[in-house]
Symmetry: D2
């Protein structure tokens, strides 16, 4: 199999884990996690939800900053030019599928923002929250890999965070775009990892900082 | 062939051409257009370069705002966590591969910015330039489709422009990621088009505004 | 009276009214408009509230985009380093003084955002909303002139809007800082105007666009 | 003397010095430091230049990140709606007054950006540079207090840095606006300090980190 990217030095340098992690949880809203809705219940998304719940249980215990979001608008006038009918019709503040799935959201701990674009960082206060916390390493979770996870990972890189994407904490409607996007970002911007590895990194980080 | 995205209403709504176009030209720097350099001379990129030259010749004649860029840094301390050795070593202000290819750049007309992340909009003045010009439709050209074009298209959508990506004016190192990314963004955020269609749209727009 | 600024050409060029207005309404939250709260009820702020209500009645009738905001946080961990005790203690989502004064807010028409810094544009979607609407002229209202109005006017200028500040639609705790700040921004960035002049401009704009 | 701001709890909380400083140097371009130009050579600006040179000599020795800037444009089409004739006519890339004064600029050390608005943070990469460095405390120097220093201090606060403005390292054309603006920002957003205090803080910080 050819890989002209590898030959041209893509993916050669690992990003690594820095000194202070933060976690972003992207779009685990009922629209994606409840199969009752047109975009809801894809198996890879449900797997990501389960794993993210495990990750956040540890992260909150260790004081790691967590930012979570949904995507919702006042009306169609406010929206960007979405090409997806279900998004235009249901991503509204007053729609029953708009809230973040309560299984993955702790309102007493997580910073919650309503984002308007694909990236959780785009014109929200999430990066500012992380600046005050001196976060230098962002762990990306949520859905969908070929949509808002790609966008969030890109912005995380552009904001000059070390970025880690545990592949079993992000999900998509189909597996092929999930893999394609992890390939693209893993070559350039982020370390593609998994839940167990990230949990071990948090454990090590916590021990070093508690000492 | 299954397409669970189409079944869930992805790609159903066309974006369309608005009232005032602007063009962004992403990373046609010598590093990508000159085969002497490690990332340079990929056939799809050279095709995109040829077609973008044709597009810009018309755009400048019709007064369409054009923003162009390269990616360069003072030193490695300034860089985001690039995983590509060739980027870390050669994307420097003083490197001979940093300048924009003169075939595609008119310093008397184009707004040139030095970007630091994948997107031409990320912390540059390009969106502000377009705001003053009342641009509502952004045509994306340059390289690479699976890198900076994906990021630029995403930001263009998030800034709430109508976004058009002529597929023969954007290029990549290999064809598969080129296609994968056009598929992902064409489902959600942008109209994937081609040079001839965009030239015809500019012609129509110019006639209506000259009248 | 000396004025070295005028001698050095400050304030010589008028900004003017463009082709599409938008209005921002800054921080008319109960904390500032209700004298029951520590920061509330300053006379200049109440005058600005009355005048902004009149302005918005016309603006909504003519379809002018309106963005309004309050400033509120989850907790002190989320806040920037405010030096004002009353802000740290009461600018919380769940505080009774957080909501926008209902006299100046139409939830069916106005885009409402919760801002985190002094400027209504800082990491909110307001500029993106205006981009889709092709706004080129921003009219600034609200409080306080020496705080969030100064910051909002600055950002409006930086986003390259034409910016108009009707001085009787913005208010402050004391008159001197109100005047000082209008002096500073009127020299550099914005046209300082008044309600009657802006109402006449909206009338003219509406007639030209209805024709 | 009345002070309704103090009575309402403005200025009660000190910001303080955090764990990692960064310095921004705003607009010490020849246009402001050379009396040959229409905006140049104001005494408070020249005092600020002298003091900033002393501050930077220490800062660079201690490895403190430094970002510096000028303000320049390709042409008037690119500019925001400046009301100052001298700015419109001379703040151009190719104008002899555009370069940063070499006495205050070390091209081998300082990150230099060309900004387009009053704030050094507005759509430049400076905040991203500081994120990678884990800066949490920004020291603001440069000119003019009632213009770009006010704007930069505001953004520094909004980005959630601790912000320190040594009043003898910032200058203005006249003294009254200089004082008015230090009053406004010192009440709300920043600690107004001076060169000697900041030098002592850097000394302490360096000793603690070298240990």
């Amino acid at each position: 199999m050819t890989d002209d990217y590898a030959r041209r030095s893509y993916g050669e340098i690992e990003v690594g884990f820095g000194k202070k992690p933060g976690i972003v949880v992207v779009d685990f809203m009922l629209a994606f996690t409840d199969p009752a809705y047109p975009l809801g219940g894809a198996p890879l998304v449900m797997r990501a939800l389960e794993n993210t719940i495990k990750l956040l249980e540890v992260a909150r215990r260790y004081g790691v900053p967590v930012a979570t979001c949904n995507t919702a608008y006042m009306n169609e006038r406010e929206m960007p030019y979405w090409k997806i009918t279900a998004v235009r019709e249901t991503f509204r503040h007053d729609h029953p599928s708009a809230p973040i799935d309560p299984r993955v959201y702790d309102p007493d701990y997580d910073l919650a923002v309503v984002k308007k674009g694909p990236s959780i960082f785009f014109n929200t206060g999430v990066a500012d929250y992380f600046t005050k916390e001196r976060v230098d390493t962002v762990i990306v979770t949520g859905c969908n890999t070929s949509g808002c996870i790609r966008a969030t990972s890109l912005d995380s890189f552009s904001y000059r965070y070390r970025t880690i994407v545990p592949e079993d904490c992000v999900g998509d409607i189909e597996e092929q775009p999930h893999r394609d996007n992890l390939r693209d970002i893993g070559r350039r911007y982020v370390d593609v990892s998994n839940l167990d590895t990230v949990l071990a990194q948090l454990e090590t980080w916590h021990r070093q900082n508690a000492a």
